[in-house]
């Protein structure tokens, strides 16, 4: 049993090390910190978004903490103002790495308001 556990641990560590070397290099976000700490966001951002989308669509609650538009405003690429487009763009890069389909931007805007209006993509 102990041997199996040790073997499993070694396998996981090797996996982490391998993953670490190939982790995506993503666009630097704007601002100092996100709405939650990075570990929470990585694990739960989809739940936050799903909860808040219902609050916004059905109850008209706007400007709350976990909004998709908020994600885009801070994490967009500084040049083109988008979160999709290349493996270094924030949303696309990580979703490709994690092999999770990204459906949000089939309908939602993937560019900042400034980029949509043809202004400089993002203030630093």
């Amino acid at each position: 049993m102990r041997v199996i556990a040790a073997g499993l641990l070694a396998f996981v560590l090797a996996g982490v090390a391998w993953a670490g070397s190939r982790a995506p290099v993503l666009d630097a976000p704007r601002g100092e910190k996100c709405v939650e700490d990075a570990a929470t966001m990585r694990r739960s951002h989809m739940d936050f978004l799903r909860h808040q989308r219902d609050e916004t669509v059905h109850r008209g609650i706007r400007g709350a903490r976990h909004s998709l538009a908020g994600c885009v405003e801070c994490h967009a690429n500084a040049k083109d103002g988008a979160v999709l487009g290349s493996p270094s763009h924030f949303c696309q890069g990580c979703h490709a790495y994690a092999a999770v389909k990204l459906d949000c931007f089939e309908c939602h805007a993937s560019r900042t308001r400034a980029a949509q209006a043809g202004r400089p993509a993002r203030s630093p």
């Binding site: 989308r53 219902d54 609050e55 669509v57 059905h58 109850r59 008209g60 609650i61 706007r62 400007g63 709350a64 538009a69 885009v72 089939e106 309908c107 939602h108 805007a109 900042t112 308001r113 949509q116």
Partner: protein, 243 residues
Amino acid sequence: MNPVDTSRRAFLGGTAAFAGVALAPGILLYEYAAAKAPGEAVSSAVRWGMLVDTTRCASGCTACVDACHSEHGVPKPARPTDAQWIRKVELKDLRTGAVRSAPVMCQHCAEPPCVDVCPTGASFKRADGIVLVDRHTCIGCRYCMMACPYKARSFVHEPTAGQKTDTPRGKGCVESCNLCVHRVDRGGTPACVEACADAGHRAIVFGDLNDPASEIAQRVRAATTTQLRADLRTDNGVRYLGL
């Protein structure tokens, strides 16, 4: 006993005076109900509506249509199957020759047929009377399009690009006028109303039908207005003057 009685009386007097102060600007309470804070849920104390004054609406003017479609990132409709949130309609009385022009969009019914038929609950009416499609739950069956007496809804047949932040839209869902819900939630007015005023016509009035002090409630009270297909008893939030 005596000291207790007097203090209680003084206390009651004080509360009565306070209540008087609070009641006197009671209209304020109403204004607060209309201009909700962005983080607050919508309330059924408000009933958003529009009044279209067809005597002021200019034939051939499409300011409201253009403003709506650019506000929501909807491409200019070119084919019959393209999405169309608002359209201009010309009515002519063949006996008298009288011509009336008016925009027709989602009428934001109090009893919306589109909500009745929706199998997933995607078509719904918000507490403040705005009828919306929740695209997260819309399966694109188009029952609502068949149920709507006003042809207000469109189906998006092709992939979309260039969406606006406030108006997500995509292939496979039904959509319609949402009364510029993103603007209304922030205390603004719909894009068509602004565009009509900018074009100098001021034919569309937007406001809270439940607030007796609002411009729309006063106009609706002062003159006879028509709800389209009132025989269906859908109790539309959009009313027409001079039809």
